[in-house]
């Protein structure tokens, strides 16, 4: 009798399906949503100050000829506190860092900055996440490199770890060329 190998095909397909499920189950893919705004201009916005001792933030501030880091943060966000030493190091490295505080109360921002340090030259209050949605950011913290004309050049998702500092300074320098 001829062996019908094709009989095994459904079983093989099923085994393949199980393998796929197992792989995805134990090694889930990264589900970070990257901004599609890299290479595009910042949208127009004008945010009121998020803390009493720093001015607010508007688009024109980021089109003043000098590349800057735009940090999206919030006082209620734990990784934002974790990246504070790295932001301080970036500031020492010559980076001008401006910030957008997402859904935050002025007193909470002030307490956060008093506790973890204030590396920001400007902080805008984004109470309705409008700027966050406008630049394609899907969480806090995120850090964008903006060139002197207000074009988004790079997006860093998640907290800045010590190994990211040199890379971000390089991206900032590249944006200035």
């Amino acid at each position: 009798m001829r062996v019908r190998w094709s009989l095994w095909l459904p079983l093989l397909l099923f085994a393949g399906f199980c393998a796929l499920v197992a792989v995805q189950l134990f090694h889930p893919a990264e589900r970070e949503v990257e901004s599609a705004m890299i290479g595009k201009e910042l949208p127009q916005f004008d945010l009121k100050p998020a803390s009493p001792d720093r001015p607010g933030l508007k688009t024109a501030d980021l089109q003043a000829g000098k590349p800057r880091l735009l940090n999206i943060f919030a006082s209620w966000c734990v990784p934002c506190a974790a990246e504070a030493p790295q932001l301080a190091e970036l500031e020492r490295g010559g980076a001008d860092i401006v910030a957008v505080a997402v859904r935050d109360r002025p007193e909470d921002v002030a307490a956060f900055l008093a506790r973890y340090g204030n590396p920001y030259s400007r902080i805008g209050a984004d109470d309705l996440s409008e700027v966050q949605l406008g630049i394609g950011s899907s969480g806090v913290p995120e850090t964008f490199v903006i060139d002197g004309k207000g074009v988004i050049r790079y997006q860093h998702i998640g907290d800045i770890r010590p190994e990211h500092v040199a890379m971000l300074l390089r991206k900032l320098q590249e944006a200035g060329q």
Binding site: V33, E34, A36, M37, V102, L128, S138, G139
Partner: protein, 142 residues
């Protein structure tokens, strides 16, 4: 008995704590004005609702923004409702979000360079099945 009570208390404390920890990752701001408030015009609200059900919450990616209680989803609903109230077309709002987050933000598959097989494959399978059936029926008649 006393030991049991101590354990029970520790268990309860752990249970309560486990509810507190996620809450700390939320902000203290009130929700956006149109996060939980419907539009006054039922026709506009229906349009907004239909759109919100097909937009992905970026914080909680298995849910639509209509289903999610994440503050960011609330802000996205506010964005959708205020734009619809201002007379914007739902598909224009979807396009605005796709321009910022890519196709991933939309649950409605768009025909594009990477998605055309989704649309082509059912047609190919249907034609293939039709072909196989027609051959079998012809053979059966002979």
């Amino acid at each position: 008995m006393r030991r049991f009570l101590a354990m029970w208390r520790a268990f309860l404390a752990a249970l309560v704590l486990s509810f507190c920890v996620p809450a700390m990752a939320q902000d203290a701001m009130p929700p956006a004005p149109y996060a939980y408030r419907q539009l006054d015009d039922p026709a506009q609200e229906a349009k907004a609702r239909a759109l919100m059900e097909t937009l992905r919450c970026l914080k909680c990616q298995g849910q639509s923004i209509a289903d999610s209680d994440a503050p960011m989803a609330g802000d996205m609903r506010h964005q959708v409702r205020t734009r619809i109230a201002a007379g914007e077309d739902p598909e224009a709002i979807r396009a605005w979000l796709i321009e910022r987050y890519g196709d991933y933000v939309s649950y409605k598959p768009e025909l594009g360079a990477s998605t055309w097989p989704l649309f082509a494959l059912p047609l190919v399978l249907l034609i293939g099945a039709g072909f196989v059936f027609s051959r079998r029926f012809r053979r059966g008649r002979q």
